[in-house]
Symmetry: C2
Subunit: 408 residues, 2 copies
């Protein structure tokens, strides 16, 4: 494992070994040092943790696959067919351990610094509440959702389909906030958000800080969210305040956000420069490679799974288009030989939301390969295969995401 890979692992997993992939930490003195500095104990790699971590203890344990104390995935069978994912079933992915519980108890006192505007200012959450409000439904999805399907053994959490959900966010539009502070500084090309996690001593902050830059084209849709699904944002999901960028991969939605800076350049934090970069298998990450920003069009089947009864079956799934509305979904029950248009279920919550879909199909006894294929409003359609890449990012190939069901 290269030095860069070790650092990547540390950034992405922060010393919490992923039991489903045993490549982590081993032989990495630097990562072990980080673990030690934070007072964390590596989890046993032999089995899935039995319990949820303290900060997510209120979650529905039965709906989740607990990969580690910082990575919990929704079971495919628990994704459901709703337009909104109940918070208790939503996946969790923290890049660093969360700040202490006190930040939630005194949420209105949480402060965020706004820089790169004409009149930079530090504002409390209490103040933000009176400055503007919007509510937006959007899909939250980890860049590595689908990583488990890559045959080369991409390192990182082995997410299948459940590192995704669709939730309602409420908070202040970032555009309103920037306008209230005099507008963006000249030459601002990026929105750079910094998380408020504690960083361990003895390591270069840039190597570990959760700080992400996204292009200012996201300014009109981004918000600083303080509520999810009409409840105060929990610590598990970045409360009291989180940068939410609808249609962008999860990592860009910086939790515990302490600083928003409108910058001319992208941050030099490792999580930006080499982390979350799409590159060929075996290559190291670098700033010239595509960053995990806008999500691509994607869908997968959520029911039936594994087995069922022959005859009329209702095939359910979810589909979304990232920053572009999803327009249609087709379902195949013969592994992609023939396709049938599925119907969307429930109200349309806007371009950033997912749409549950359903297809009624009469299926004989036997084994069936059920796959789904979504197309967005710009005509982008899920490909059949993977785009092979070192870290297993952005997988939206329909073939790997299908299910094999035996009906009797």
């Amino acid at each position: 494992m290269s030095q860069e890979q070790v650092l990547d692992e540390r950034l992405n997993n922060y010393g919490l070994a992923d039991p489903s992939r045993r490549r982590l930490l081993v032989g990495s003195a630097g990562a072990m040092a980080a673990v030690s500095l934070l007072g964390l104990s590596p989890l046993s790699r032999a089995e899935e943790p039995k319990t949820l971590p303290e900060y997510a203890a209120w979650k529905d344990r039965n709906a989740l696959i607990v990969h580690s104390a910082n990575t919990m995935e929704t079971e495919r069978g628990a994704i459901g067919n709703g337009v909104i994912t109940p918070t208790g079933r939503l996946f969790v992915r923290n890049n660093l351990p969360p700040p202490p519980a006190g930040i939630i108890e005194n949420a209105d006192a949480w402060e965020v610094r706004i820089e790169g505007v004409r009149n930079p200012r530090t504002l409390s959450l209490g103040e933000l509440k009176t400055m503007g409000v919007t509510t937006v439904a959007s899909v939250l999805q980890c860049s590595g959702n689908g990583r488990a399907f890559f045959p080369h053994g991409a390192s990182g959490t082995q997410w299948t389909v459940g590192a995704a959900g669709c939730v309602m966010w409420t908070g202040i539009p970032l555009k309103d906030l920037a306008d209230a502070l005099g507008g963006l500084a000249e030459n601002a090309r990026y929105i750079t958000g910094t998380g408020g996690e504690s960083l361990p001593d003895g390591l270069d902050p840039a190597s570990i800080v959760v700080e992400r830059s996204i292009p200012t084209r996201a300014l009109d849709s981004a918000l600083l969210a303080r509520e999810m699904n009409d409840e105060p944002l929990t610590r598990a999901h970045g409360g009291p305040l989180r940068l939410v960028v609808p249609g962008y991969y999860g990592v860009n939605n910086v939790k515990y956000v302490k600083t928003i800076a409108f910058t001319e350049e992208q941050t030099n934090a490792k999580i930006q420069t080499s982390g979350y970069r799409v590159r060929e298998v075996g290559k190291s990450g670098s700033p010239d490679q595509p960053s995990m920003w806008e999500m691509n069009v994607k869908s997968w089947v959520t029911a039936p799974l594994e087995s069922g009864r022959a005859g009329r079956n209702m095939i359910y799934g979810v589909a979304f288009g990232g920053t572009v509305a999803v327009e249609k979904v087709e379902v195949s029950t013969d592994g992609g030989k023939s396709w049938h248009p599925a119907r969307f279920l429930g109200p349309d919550l806007g371009p950033y939301a997912w749409r549950p879909f359903v297809l009624a199909a009469d299926l004989p006894a036997g084994e069936h390969r059920i796959v789904s294929r979504a197309t967005d409003a710009e005509g982008n359609r899920q490909p059949e295969g993977r785009t092979e890449n070192e870290r297993g990012y952005g997988h939206n190939g329909w073939s790997d995401h299908g299910v094999t069901v035996t009906l009797s």
Copy 2:
């Protein structure tokens, strides 16, 4: 209290006294007999129950005013500003104690009889699942929501604003089901739903059964719901199967539904013939009076409440139009002298859903009377006053629903 009123009380409260109105049960031997037959103990009338009943023990106690074991209201301050009410905060109103918990554990075995179609049939919930599915957002509201504002002391639970919420329902469209069974019988004018609660011996079933008839004009929107907010329908809300009639008052959404009959006449159950009838104060209920079917246009403020800080305030509330989409909301901070258009917050979930609204207002120190007034797409607007009526039904007057807030 007249014999009719006693019976009404028994129908509506089933021996569970409402502690906020002490007119119930007193001197009513029949009601006491019903209590005894069902093995229930009347609650103390001196104070609000401290605990939630067993079948609703999973609810958020802090969000609810517990009037009795069968009537729990969402606190005005817990209604929130979301497009969907989290299930844990949703009000509960049962007309009879719920069936035992076993009906949920074996939900797919629940059977419903469909009559008044060309091919009457009994179907299990498991069978219904393969016959059709829809997801609809709609407001659920008790007919007596707002009863506490009637000065004549309307009997029944003293709901203020919290006997309402907006939730997602998933189940089979009733129209699909009727079509699958050959269509409606000739002369069918009503959809009559019957609840599956146990009825006490020794009483005329028609005097106590929860059986409601609604006009067949609701056929295109009604469904048999098995999920609420993407989770299996709980016993507190009528699971495993409930008749849901979007835009109609709560009582028509028959819980634990055992029979759907398409009928030429309305049921002769007391809850239909004299219950839920709008009549002058002092009059008894009778079939010639309007029945509580379609809801009227309504809104109320949810924040701020009681006190706050002078300066910029965000005024929140919810608004809906029953079977007609709500089109606009105006807010007044001077008790209705001047009005300002509020902005809807979050996605539009369709004509039966409520829309949260918000208005930013700069308010000086002092006392302010904040009221809201909604108008639906057909131009119906909330009146200022009440329509006085014996049981305190259908109150949508904006004046009573306002809040007085002291800012400092």
